[in-house]
């Protein structure tokens, strides 16, 4: 019996306020840069001002003589510190080309922001001041900025590779050979679209910060880092630095947002560790915002060619996709895998035959490396299919909601084995779409639109939608193996009932805003029948939580939360043996509810968990052979991805004279299965939607033709403010996942996955009567105005 069927305490599903909040609201919480480390040296890094250049010479003499400076190192001088290059954990093809990438460049720089010289000084200001005294002579080479031009190999970035192409990854599924091409030849309707997923800066509000603290004897080292992945970082840092893994401890203190940008093994983490060991002193580094824009990974960066074939009713008959994915200058931790995470989603939520042809080229440019950014591949894929569906509806002159209804995978088809062989666990797309349509007043808006969008109208009304799947909950380890990913996808949890019946839940997830402490305590409370306030949740320190695979890919609840439930089950199983021993009955005769074991049919013969916890501790009278203590560790490897889904709709007006967009309503109907804490679910949707909406309307990492980033500060890169964005109407349907005992799915990326195409579809919907059929992102007023003008000229 799953918990969804048998809610004993019904903690799950209630809007619990977050236990994380008081420390964060009062300034008590410590972020990495808040740690007080007496005697620490400060690291600053001189970064390349050129996108592509040979290092001819470096003169550090003046910097070394600068007040407070302890040491200055070039890349060549630190080369002996590295046991290997910085890691890329996802070699997506056997022949993928991966240039060696070290924390400092030794002979050549490949993007603006590439690290060149490390300065250690007694204070942050002294180390920064010394950067100005370093003289580097460069031989400047031609920048490679455009991902499609890069493919011509006219200027090769990594000479030893002989090409700018890292890999080609194919996913071609055909019922019979040639059936995709055949479907396009026979199609009643075809669309062929090109979309650009602009580069985005993740812009977590906390810039990255690192502190490495060596132990004076024995060689142990503790790394504090503003990271999403203390566990993965521990393994990778040990390997890269050649330190035995058991001597490395990684702690992620309070972390101020990540969105994927802190899902990486960064040069600064490795530099701080190496320099701390060399100098036998703590070494710390904190990123400035302008440094963050260049030295922290970027998101997106894809050119997409999408073709849909459909029969005369609009039913999809084939999907063909070609992606040019911008890797940037090097492959970071999962850079090459990001477009592959989207590869399975270009048919969206639609029932298509075995006629799918996907291919992606991963291509180097002389720009900051890209990597996972909220959604990682899935917002890009969802955008492409959902905008292409609207293009198909326009061509067919039918309503885009009607076209989707004709193609949805039907509720009765779940669990649904997709063309790709993946199984979609549960879903009801029609219900989500109809709920969204009701909340957005879809029919009413269409009526209003017909009246409002007449020739010459200054303000035109539009409504756009997206129906999405969020393939998440990374991930079944065997599936990851088939995708050549370098790790598993399990998650670990330990549940420990202390002698006084207080509980420690130890999780391998590493929250940075998601509220795991609150939600995991709710799960444990529900399972154990122990009040939430008696449960502590420990995380993000590899000395406390040695096993884990951290937080990304909307995996924490669907994998880590389920692991907590599984560990509770193991503790309950052990407690049951002690209860049976005390009550002198068979363990099978006991039932457990509300934190009490009782004999079935004789409720007065009962023993509470508190008595069992103390008995397990004293061990005076345990069943023969049973270990003392009540503790269980459980590692959960999910049998499937989780497949949250939903429909978003946006109603907006476009001012045709200024290009300005006013959002009148944004509706997000999301289904993430059973909700542990609806308060947190809604918060995740709000934030995700605004990040997706920001891609649609505001944000872009702009480069000039020499590879200089023009948007390096928050004054130039438009992270929206409260005044730029609307309130959001959230609603949910609840379709439990059948693949885990909690019935849960992920929710962290859903908003971002649904939002960008929803907004863009609404803008095009408003303007299609003027002949506008495409809308590049970000749809700034200038871009919208230009699209209106060029459509008018084309008429």
């Amino acid at each position: 019996m799953t918990m969804t069927e048998n809610r004993q305490n019904t903690v799950i599903g209630t809007r619990q306020l977050r236990r994380e909040d008081p420390a964060l609201l009062t300034g008590e919480a410590k972020f990495t840069n808040d740690l007080n480390l007496p005697g620490a040296l400060h690291l600053s890094i001189l970064r390349s001002p050129h996108a592509h250049a040979k290092i001819v010479s470096i003169d550090t003499a003046a910097a070394k003589a600068s007040p407070g400076v302890i040491a200055v190192y070039t890349g060549a001088e630190l080369q002996s510190q590295w046991a290997g290059p910085m890691p890329c954990a996802w070699p997506v093809t056997p022949d993928m080309k991966n240039p060696p990438h070290f924390p400092l460049a030794a002979s050549k720089v490949c993007y603006v922001g590439d690290g060149v010289v490390a300065v250690l000084a007694t204070s942050e200001s002294a180390s920064r001041d010394a950067l100005d005294l370093i003289d580097v002579e460069y031989k400047v080479l031609k920048a490679v900025v455009d991902v499609e031009e890069a493919l011509s190999d006219a200027n090769i970035i990594h000479e030893d590779l002989g090409t700018n192409k890292s890999y080609t990854w194919n996913l071609k599924i055909e019922a019979t050979e040639g059936c995709v091409e055949n479907a396009f030849q026979k199609a009643a309707f075809k669309v062929s679209e090109r979309y650009v997923q602009q580069r985005l800066l993740p812009m977590a509000m906390e810039p990255r910060a690192v502190a490495a603290v060596p132990q004076p004897f024995g060689g142990d080292i503790t790394l504090y880092s503003s990271t999403q992945i203390p566990h993965i970082l521990k393994v990778m840092a040990a390997l890269t630095l050649g330190i035995p893994e058991h001597q490395v401890r990684v702690v992620a203190p309070s972390v101020g947002g990540g969105f994927g940008s802190k899902l990486d093994v960064y040069a600064e983490e490795l530099l701080c560790m190496a320099l701390a060991r060399m100098h036998n002193l703590p070494v710390r580094w904190v990123e400035e915002r302008s440094e963050n824009s260049m030295a922290t990974i970027h998101g997106r960066g894809q050119v997409q060619y999408v073709e849909l074939a459909a029969d005369k009713s609009g039913k999809l008959t084939a999907v063909r996709v070609r992606i040019k994915a911008d890797m940037g200058a090097y492959l970071q931790l999962v850079t090459p895998g990001v477009p592959i995470l989207g590869a399975f989603l270009y048919a969206g939520v639609y029932d298509i035959p075995l006629a799918y042809d996907f291919s992606c080229d991963g291509i180097f440019t002389t720009l900051t490396p890209t990597d996972a950014y909220r959604g990682a591949g899935r917002p890009e894929a969802t955008y492409a299919i959902e905008c292409a569906m609207d293009a198909l509806a326009r061509q067919m002159k039918i309503d885009p909601l009607e076209l989707r209804k004709r193609n949805f995978i039907q509720k009765e088809q779940f669990p649904y084995t997709a063309f790709s062989g993946l199984t979609y666990d549960s879903g009801d797309h029609l219900q989500a779409a109809e709920k969204a349509a009701g909340l957005a007043d879809y029919v009413g808006i269409r009526t209003k639109q017909a009246k409002q969008n007449v020739a010459g109208a200054k303000k035109r009304l539009g409504i756009g939608m997206t129906s999405y799947f969020e393939m998440c909950g990374l991930a079944p380890s065997r599936v990851l193996a088939s995708l050549d990913y370098g790790a598993g996808g399990w998650e670990a949890a330990t549940v420990r009932i202390l002698p006084t019946c207080k509980v420690q839940v130890v999780t391998g997830t590493s929250p940075h805003g998601q509220g795991h402490e609150t939600s995991w305590a709710m799960i444990a409370s529900e399972k154990l029948g122990i009040p939430q306030e008696d449960i502590d949740v420990l995380h993000s320190d590899t000395a406390i939580s040695p096993l884990g695979l951290d937080t990304y890919g909307s995996r924490s609840l669907a994998v880590g939360g389920v692991a907590v439930a599984g560990a509770c089950d193991k503790v309950i199983d052990k407690a049951r043996l002690i209860a049976a021993h005390q009550l002198e009955c068979s363990a099978d005769d006991l039932e457990f509810a509300g934190g009490v074991f009782s004999v079935k049919g004789s409720p007065d013969r009962a023993v509470p968990m508190a008595a069992i916890a103390f008995a397990a501790f004293t061990a005076h009278n345990l069943p023969d052979g049973l270990e003392p203590n009540l503790e269980a560790q459980y590692s959960y490897d999910p049998p499937n991805f989780s497949w949250p889904f939903g429909t978003h709709m946006c109603v907006l007006e476009v001012d045709t004279e200024t290009g300005k967009i006013e959002i009148l309503k944004y509706v997000a109907v999301d289904d993430c299965g059973v909700q542990i804490n609806p308060l947190i679910v809604d918060g995740q949707v709000h934030g995700g939607v605004i990040q997706g909406l920001a891609q649609a309307l505001f944000e872009e990492a702009v480069y000039d033709s020499d590879g200089n980033l023009k948007t390096t500060t928050l004054a130039e890169y438009l992270v929206p403010a409260a005044s730029d964005v609307p309130s959001i109407t959230t609603a949910h349907t609840v379709t439990p996942s059948p693949t885990n005992q909690l019935g849960v799915k992920g929710i962290g990326e859903a908003g971002t996955i649904g939002a960008a195409s929803t907004v863009i579809n609404a803008i095009i919907d408003a303007l299609s009567g003027l002949g506008v059929t495409e809308m590049p992102m970000p749809a700034s007023p200038q871009t919208v105005w230009r699209a209106i003008q060029s459509a008018a000229q084309a008429k």
Binding site: L17, R18, E20, D21, P22, A23, L24, L25, T26, G27, E28, A29, K30, F31, N33, D34, N36, M203, A204, M205, E206, P207, S254, V255, G256, G257, F259, E288, R289, S290, H512, G513, Q514, G515, L679, I680, D682, G683, H686, G687, G688, V689, I690, Q691, T713, L714, A715, V719, A721, A722, S723, D724, V725, S727, I728, G751
Partner: protein
């Protein structure tokens, strides 16, 4: 140079380098690390504090400019272990996720209500445009401020 600033009710006299920003004075000299730094262009508002009762970004001014003034930081808001109504409103309305922008957002929100005790949603959004949040999409921040106004 010497500065004398009353911080959270305690007078602090310190020697500082003239170029010391107020935010660095608070964080590095007084260990009041609740005031965060999120940018280098005075764009994000994470470092918002109150100087003589007014919300200001503590990265935009030198410690020397606050000489003789009264500063309240996020650490100085709660009284006798009870959070300020604005802090409570943020908690009750899930107005924070990672919490990095939160101290500045709370200080700015208190400043906003001081100037406009009964704002509309639009006025709250406009009033907070100098403070950036990447987690919440602002929805619950706006809700928190409106709830605090009703208290």
């Amino acid at each position: 140079m010497k500065v004398s600033i009353t911080v959270n009710g305690t007078r602090q006299e310190k020697d500082v380098e003239p170029r010391t920003l107020l935010v660095h004075f608070l964080r590095d000299r007084l260990q009041l690390t609740g005031t965060n730094i999120g940018c280098d262009t005075s764009s994000c508002g994470a470092c918002t504090i109150h100087l003589d009762g007014e919300a200001v970004k503590s990265c935009t001014m030198l410690a020397a400019q606050a000489d003789g003034g009264k500063v309240t930081t996020i650490e100085g808001l709660s009284k006798d272990g009870v959070m300020h109504p604005m802090q409570q409103a943020f908690m009750e309305n899930h107005g924070l996720q990672c919490g990095y922008c939160t101290p500045g957002m709370v200080m700015a929100s208190i400043g906003l209500l001081k100037e406009n005790p009964n704002p509309t949603e639009e006025e709250v959004r406009l009033g907070l445009e100098g403070n950036l949040c990447r987690c919440t999409g602002y929805h619950n921040i706006v809700k928190s401020v409106l709830a605090a106004a009703k208290k």
